[in-house]
């Protein structure tokens, strides 16, 4: 396609090796991911017109934690820079909107999370409504288990379906050099394990990962200077739902994913590959259904969020993996999805296309 000045593409992606417990700081991780993506694209950092990162103070255990991370960018002279307390996928969204202002051509989006600093079953209780929900001590695992139970009760899926998702993702992850959890398993052996939060077993839960990822975006013709086959963002949208899962009409579906998919134009053509951010294996079933995907779409060739799951990074990695399918693997139309909040409260959908 002949890009207009409003067409924006992913032209580079890099991630650090995932680690269960790294000795590096978040700033180190950002430095490694940023240097790698700049090298991948082959530019000087002075050519980056806008830099934005996504990270979370509570994962770092420190207020203003992103401030130290900005040391990784080399900000002398001063740069155009911003930060979101969201997954890096939303940092990419801000970079996309910033590029649409039309005064810059290249932007860098980063996600970083050191998840090993905390115990997710205690930390995520404070992500909720502080007056009514947090005091209950309900964590993300428990709320996900309630969602999984609702899905079972609806008759749309069985515990074996949950296990099959895990078997497939772990097998896919074998070919991903950046996978932390991978291998050949059978559903029978997975189903023999005890529950962690009934009906969820350990393999249904996301791994704990320390990681950073970075993506470079370029606008218009500039994309061709940086990438032979850019992954054009032909649709991107994100939506949020009511916070309290019980206020939502039906937690076995994802209304916000469906709305975001419509906004991103998913249905305008076939999707060859979808990278879905489902921290809990069974959520992949809910998300792919809401995206309107069928068996013709390959789901999570990277192994998805069950292979590595650094909160604040996993969504951005989905964007990078879906882009790689176009920039490096010859696919024409792919999809990336990112989620945040309890029981898939917030969802982002991005459609990427290559020149044909």
């Amino acid at each position: 396609m002949a890009p207009t000045e409003n067409d924006i593409a992913i032209v580079g992606f890099a991630q650090t090796a995932p680690d269960r417990r790294t000795q590096l700081t978040e700033a180190d991780l950002v430095l490694h991911a940023t240097r790698a993506v700049i090298a991948d694209v082959g530019i000087d950092k002075s050519e980056i017109g806008f830099t934005v990162s996504g990270s979370c103070d509570y994962l770092s255990g420190q207020a203003f934690s992103f401030v130290q991370n900005t040391d990784a960018y080399g900000m002398v002279p001063a740069i155009n820079e911003s930060h979101v307390e969201m997954d890096g996928a939303w940092a990419l969204y801000e970079a996309y909107v910033r590029l649409l202002q039309g005064d810059i051509d290249v932007a860098l989006a980063v996600g970083v999370g050191k998840n090993s600093n905390s115990d997710p079953s205690t930390l995520y209780t404070i992500e909720f409504d502080p007056y009514y929900l947090t005091p209950l001590g309900a964590d993300t695992w428990s709320l996900a288990a309630l969602q999984a139970r609702a899905l079972l009760d609806s008759g749309k899926a069985t515990e074996r379906d949950f296990a099959d998702v895990v078997v497939r993702n772990r097998a896919n992850a074998k070919s991903n050099p950046y996978a932390q959890v991978k291998g050949d398993y059978s559903a029978d052996e997975l189903l023999a394990a005890d529950y962690v939060r009934n009906p969820l077993r350990l393999h249904d839960l996301p791994p704990t990962t320390d990681q950073a990822a970075a993506i470079i975006l370029a606008r218009g013709k500039r994309a061709y200077d940086l990438c032979e086959r850019p992954a054009w963002i032909t649709g991107i949208d994100h939506r949020i739902e009511p916070h309290l899962p019980t206020v939502r009409k039906d937690i076995t579906t994802s209304v916000s994913t469906r709305l975001a998919a419509q906004g991103a134009g998913v249905g305008k053509g076939p999707i060859e590959v979808a990278e879905v951010h489902a921290p809990f294996g069974f959520q992949e079933l809910i998300v792919t259904d809401a995206l309107g995907l069928d068996a013709s779409t390959e789901i999570n060739p990277s192994g998805g969020a069950l292979a590595t799951h650094a909160v604040m990074v996993a969504g951005l990695i989905r964007m990078g993996e879906a882009a790689n399918q176009i920039t490096k693997n010859g696919k024409n139309r792919t999809l990336a999805h990112a989620t945040s909040g309890p029981c898939l409260q917030q969802n982002l959908v991005c459609v990427l296309e290559g020149d044909q």
Binding site: N6, C56, D57, Y58, G61, Q62, A63, F64, S65, F66, V67, T70, D71, M75, V76, P77, A78, I79, N80, E81, S82, H83, V84, E85, M86, W90, Y93, E94, V97, R98, L100, Q101, G102, D103, L123, Y124, I126, E127, F128, D129, P130, Y131, L133, T134, D237, H238, R239, I240, E241, P242, H243, V247, V255, S256, L259, S340, G341, P342, Q345, Q346
Partner: protein, 385 residues
Amino acid sequence: MSHQPAAIVGIGQTHHKRKRADVSIAGLVREAAQRALEDANMDWGDIDAVVLGKAPDLFEGVMKPEMYLADALGAVNKPMFRVHTAGSVGGSTGIVGSHLVSSGRHKRVLSVAFEKQSEGNAQFALGGGKGASIGAGGAFAPFIRAYIRRSGAPEDIGWMVAVKDRLNGAKNPYAHLKLADITIDKVKESPMMWDPLHFLESCPSSDGACAVVFTDEDGGKKASKPPAWVLATAMKSEPGWYSGRDAVNPQAAHACAQEIYKAVGITNPREQIDCAELYVPFSWYEPMWLEAHEIAAPGEGWKMTQSGATALDGDFPVNMSGGVLSSNPIGASGLLRFAEAALQVRGLAEDHQVGGAKLAIAQAYGANAQFFAMWAVGSSLNPLG
């Protein structure tokens, strides 16, 4: 074309207080948003997307509170976005909201910023959540001492700023501090906090929120009240520490102002800009920012304060709202500056209105005086004619 005009058609804020025990966090942000919607003559359903900004989550002890606030801010089934850029975050929240309109992504966007500092311990969080905090005053006092030594400014400049901003705040119905009887002597005799900053030269700790409604050009032209037009935006960052850094006069502050002035066609800021809202949490930052944003020549900023130029009836009014010295819900403080600049060019600032204001700037800064956000707003798209 990619860049389209964005108009500000609604502005709302809470009554800022030490402790807003009468409302939850959700109640606080909704109060500001409701006022902004009423000002815009809109309802919740008219909004296409919501942007929420606040400083560190450790202030209230709620992780990523935008998830919980989606319902209160009418964001359900819409895009909701969360910005956090330290002290400049309120400004960044306004800028990100305006970009969603100027990029053509949305027609009507609500930006909301808040802090409910009474829910937690702000001093603890300001120290990175690790205790032993010297506080923001302790961090900035060395820069201020360096400014005084460098410029040769007399010691009463800081006291004058403290009095001027509180007298302005007394005219602002939403201000936390309304110290109509403040005097130079009272400031001077108040306890020393961080030499040379006295208690009355320091910002309060407030609960509060601010909200702004943006629309596209068509929405701005059809607005029931006069709109403010976003003429230029900028966000610049530099490291908090590096060899040769001038922390008194940060390069990022200059870069931010230069980008704004160039975009708007401002060649003589002092003459062409009608008024400014600058992030002044400690009195001396008024002359310091006047210089770092190239409104005054190096070493001359304090003379603008001394001559009364920055007073409400001066030739370059600064912090007509009473500024951060009168209200400081940290995450909202930047957006309060940005909103006041817009209120001025809309002619809706009532008792703290600068007569005939057509072009105003607003600024916020954060962390170790290293993150800067700035915008210029006008009563028309071309206020310089």
